[in-house]
């Protein structure tokens, strides 16, 4: 017999069939029999609490909560488990537990999405580029990046490990690019000074004799070639020149006298006189 025919729409247990057609509600069979007991128990509990007014004043409502969708999710989890029951191997695999995402990640994700949008908007003006696949067309050798680190480390540490002698340090100091440049500059400056000094004419005012002038003429040929006779005469200190000439004449006189004696006087005569 179906319940609907009995107007028991909620499938309530202990539905009373006695009042069929008049009252379509059912009751547990011992409801009224236990009702008095239940009331007594309630009153007893309330009486007990009157002795503790503080406890009595606190509302007895539910204070604990469950996470949102807890029961729905629980149901979904149970459903998933029931589904997995058919796949024994999958059941044995432990599901990974993912950590909660950091707040920073959410922030950076937001930034990177905005950046992507900005990039795409920028390219919209250039339709060919916009529709082009942005894949990297270059490739590298297999294991390139796996071995790269080792190669760089070898290079760095091999240069560190080299035993460096004092001679090497000095040689490196002397023959490095900076030093070579400095030496070149010094050499150029030194050579320039030397050449400048050697071509610089000796000050004419210091020269007071003919011999000096002759010497100067050879050294400073280029300078003297530009001087005329009057200028040359002006350079000569007449007093000094006179003195020099006098001493030369006197020297030549004494020399002539000595020569006369040597030629005309006999050696025996000289010995006798002595």
């Amino acid at each position: 017999m179906s319940h609907n025919e009995d107007h028991n729409f909620n499938n309530e247990p202990n539905f009373s069939f006695e009042n069929k057609g008049k009252i379509p509600f059912g009751l547990p069979s011992d409801y009224f029999a236990s009702f008095e007991e239940k009331i007594k128990l309630k009153l007893e509990l309330e009486n007990e609490l009157t002795e503790f007014p503080l406890l009595n004043s606190i509302s007895k409502g539910p204070v604990f909560k469950v996470p949102l969708n807890y029961f729905t999710e629980n149901y979904t989890a149970m459903e998933c488990q029931a589904e997995l029951a058919f796949y024994k191997k999958l059941q044995t695999i432990k599901k990974p537990v993912f950590n909660e995402l950091e707040i920073e990640y959410a922030h950076s994700l937001n930034q990177s999405i905005n950046h992507k949008i900005e990039l795409a908007n920028e390219l919209k003006d250039y339709q060919t580029l916009y529709h082009l696949d942005k894949t990297n067309p270059f490739v590298v050798t297999e294991d390139y990046f796996e071995t790269f680190g080792m190669r760089v480390k070898d290079k760095i540490y091999s240069s560190h490990d080299k035993s460096v002698s004092v001679f090497d340090i000095i040689a490196e100091f002397i023959f490095n690019k900076k030093m070579a440049f400095a030496f070149t500059v010094i050499a150029i400056i030194g050579l320039s000074i030397y050449l400048y000094q050697s071509t610089k004419p000796i000050p004419i005012s210091h020269c007071e004799t003919l011999a000096c002038l002759e010497k100067l003429e050879i050294i400073n040929h280029s300078s003297f070639s530009n001087l005329d006779d009057d200028q040359l005469i002006e350079m000569v200190n007449i007093k000094t020149l006179n003195k020099q000439l006098q001493s030369t004449i006197s020297q030549s006189d004494s020399t002539e006298h000595e020569q006369y004696i040597l030629d005309n006087v006999n050696t025996d005569q000289l010995l006798e006189e002595l």
Binding site: P137, F138, V140, T141, F145, F148, R151, V152, K155
Partner: protein
């Protein structure tokens, strides 16, 4: 494998005992990023390998003087960029030719490069990029492929954000025209 931040790497470097670890993590973290950046400038794999090694050696030697005024990443990127450009100039000098001729040679070598897997349109794009002036080429690659923010790019190339934006748009326009017309 644990992810090491720049701060972690620098902390490892400062401690004499863990310096070797710092080098290991520095290479692991940046080798690929720098490789692809250099590769797009010098094109050939072998040349990229040389430049990348030199870059890491320079970074390692210069790390002691790194002032942390800029990010480690942008500092390394700057070194890699300079090394790549210097390499191209040296190559041009060795071949007694101009830098433009070298770029033309690179463009030609792409077609026969066994380490280039791009299709016809990719080849066209790379050839178009290689016709750009040095700075525009750098800006385009860093923005289009590396998707680097202008602010970061500004630190690497030491150029204003406005100038970089202008460079990128000029470069993109040129490339667009070259792809369409060839």
């Amino acid at each position: 494998m644990q992810h090491y931040s720049d701060e972690d790497i620098l902390a490892l470097y400062r401690d004499e005992g863990s310096r070797n670890m710092a080098l290991h993590h520095l290479i692991k973290k940046y080798q690929q990023k720098l490789y692809w950046h250099i590769r797009k400038i010098v094109i050939s794999h072998d040349d990229t390998d040389d430049v990348l090694q030199n870059t890491f050696i320079k970074v390692w030697k210069g790390l002691i003087n790194f002032k942390e005024e800029s990010q480690l990443y942008t500092w390394m990127y700057r070194i890699a960029t300079n090394e790549s450009l210097t390499f191209l100039k040296q190559k041009a000098r060795a071949n007694t030719t101009s830098i433009h001729s070298i770029e033309y040679q690179l463009s030609k070598s792409l077609e026969s490069d066994s380490f280039f897997s791009g299709d016809e349109i990719q080849l066209k794009l790379q050839n178009a990029i290689l016709t750009l002036p040095e700075k525009q080429r750098l800006v385009f690659n860093m923005r289009y492929y590396d998707e680097m923010p202008y602010e970061q790019m500004s630190e690497v190339l030491e150029t204003s954000v406005g100038a970089l934006k202008a460079s990128y748009h000029i470069a993109a326009k040129k490339i667009e025209e070259l792809i369409i017309n060839h």
